[in-house]
Symmetry: C2
């Protein structure tokens, strides 16, 4: 067996220590186990920083950063309380400077920040894990958007069995928020894991998920276009001015002419978070006989007063048409402390007044991926039934 | 226009500063421009670390880490000399602790280390960039490997036009090195960018590139299997014991029954780096009438003495058969300071003695991705002509 062979040992030692230039600096990763997930759902973090005066840890399960304790050999550590099952993100703050955990290679970018993540299992977090189930296919592809005069990048999940079956599949169009792109739902949203798991459990129908880029001035996510490795920004022009809604048929046309899908209202769902919820609301009423399933996750509702697009000329009229045309699900989810809570409440009052039916899900928390992963996990099982 | 709307400003401010829990800590990215690429191909790095005593930068273009200079407001900086066009990686060392650049969201994992990268254009680096050319499709998919009794993950590049043409495409099987996986060539190797660019320039034929996982005990890359978010290790069992070679027909069978490809020797190439070069050498002679194009990039050559697999029983005999069966290209590339240089030299002597023809490319440098990206850029244009 090769396991302990001299050859491998030599390769290893030479590669790590001698390879040309500073590879030994670049490769000399942490020897700490961090994060260490304990069976009782507490988590230990460790950081080697012998010269640091103060080390803190900030994580999305805590209201504020907390101090880590310096132990032997310059290793700082911190142990959490028992954490509910979920996907969490965190960073260290070393003498005032934020840095990631050198012991943890799992990071996800959110706009301009790259943050370490870990998953506590035993509950909803299990939906965000890769489990021993059949896996769908994730494809990054470019499609023509003549309305935007661009070739644009899109991320597509096809369910297990898609390639070999002859069946036509329904499609969920899943839209990101401001600062996001066609990578957001697959990376931060764990869409492929959630869908794989829900489908394996028989809780969701096999479906295609089309994750397009909702910033119509962008060809692709930062780093994936000819703009190169620039610093991503939260705010882009033309994101909520009607262009996304107007040009959305390009996406549908691409999917329906390139994938084996149901090309009827009953086989189409559209959902999104924040700005993507706004897009879902306005796309689904502007094309009022196109989607049987609509999901607004922490959605922005109202266009800015300065926006002049025809898309927003007759919101009430098109909503009314959408209602009369009929649909199977209009799902609204929001967190109690979300800054958009008031807008969503007003929108619900409008729908109530119109008699337009919807399913309402109020959660704890605010405008976070923690909520959006939960909303997707609850929304997907309601589709195409 | 929305650009300056109050609505967006409010959303932005609220999202960044108030969103539940510690999002402001997690999101409070760097306001420094770093790295800043200047027109003269020098690069400036900046890091805000007001409390640090000593900050260094280590990069793969320098033999050792160098000191950065503390400037105003606690910002440390360093300016490189003129850098040749290439893709580079680097890290900061703050009071002895390595950390990534908070100003740069572009990072690539190499085994257990995640490192910032940047590209200097104007030369070979332009091949590693996304340019305004037609883009291929990159797919992550799972296939059955009955010989390994596993479902396994594979990364597949299909060239621009694959989906709409009726043409049959040739296939390059591209194999990673020790510590790598099915993500290595696409992430560290910039395979999709290199192929898009070479195809657009008319220098390479449109081809499919199949990047499988060469660690037969693994279903998928770290983080992509049911093993979860574990710390990747360089050394895995059963990587060079003949199993990869033996079970490789599963990969070919999957590609040839699922993609529109040339199913003849003339449409098949196999290449790999280090361990993947070893696999390419042994697969191509063990199945000696299967590949017309073989590429050994900084290849390991000899199996360990303890390995007993039938795959290595008759190396010279099978090489001889491979030679007699004929092939169009046997390409060997190695860096002058590579620790495998001597083994490759001995192997070339053996081939010379046998009269087995090969193309030899000796480069500067050693066992690095810098070389492997160059080798792929030179090898791909020679295929399927």
């Amino acid at each position: 067996m090769m396991k302990k062979s001299i050859f491998l040992a030599v390769v290893f030692i030479i590669l790590v220590s001698i390879t040309s230039y500073a590879q030994q600096d670049l490769w000399g990763g942490s020897k700490n186990v961090s994060p260490e997930l304990k069976d009782d759902n507490t988590v230990i973090f460790r950081l080697l920083a012998p010269n640091a005066q103060e080390v803190k840890i900030t994580g999305n399960w805590m209201p504020a950063a907390v101090a880590m304790t310096k132990g032997e050999k310059g290793i700082w550590s911190y142990t959490t309380g028992v954490l509910p099952s979920d996907l969490y993100s965190y960073a260290f703050i070393v003498d005032g400077m934020k840095c990631s955990d050198p012991g943890n290679v799992y990071l996800i970018r959110d706009v301009a920040t790259v943050t370490n993540v870990f998953i506590v299992g035993g509950g909803i977090g299990d939906l965000f894990k890769v489990n021993k189930v059949a896996h769908g296919t994730v494809t990054r592809r470019w499609y023509d958007s003549p309305s935007n005069k661009m070739s644009r990048r899109i991320t597509i999940y096809t369910p297990p069995g898609y390639e070999t079956s002859k069946q036509k599949y329904p499609v969920l169009y899943l839209l990101h928020g401001m600062g996001g792109d066609e990578e957001a739902w697959i990376a931060l949203g764990r869409t492929s894991q959630i869908l794989d798991n829900l489908i394996a459990q028989g809780k969701a129908k096999p479906m295609i998920v089309a994750m397009c880029n909702g910033n119509v001035i962008q060809e692709a996510a930062p780093g994936e276009s000819s703009l190169g490795f620039y610093t991503p920004t939260f705010q882009l022009p033309n994101t909520m001015d009607g262009k996304m809604e107007e040009t959305f048929p390009d996406v549908i046309k691409f999917i329906e002419s390139n994938y084996r899908v149901v090309t009827e209202k009953s086989g189409r769902a559209i959902a999104g978070l924040s700005m993507g919820g706004y897009h879902s609301l306005h796309i689904s009423r502007y094309y009022p006989n196109t989607f049987d399933y609509i999901g607004l996750f922490s959605a922005a509702i109202k266009p800015d007063n300065k926006v002049t697009s025809k898309v927003y000329k007759d919101i009430d009229g098109t909503l009314n048409t959408q209602m009369k045309n009929g649909y199977k699900l209009y799902w609204i989810g929001i967190g109690k402390s979300d800054f958009l809570y008031k807008d969503v409440t007003e929108y619900r009052a409008k729908l109530d007044k119109m008699g337009m039916k919807y399913t309402y899900r109020e959660s704890e928390g605010g405008h976070t991926w923690t909520n959006w992963r939960v909303y997707l996990s609850e929304f997907a099982p309601l589709l195409f039934k």
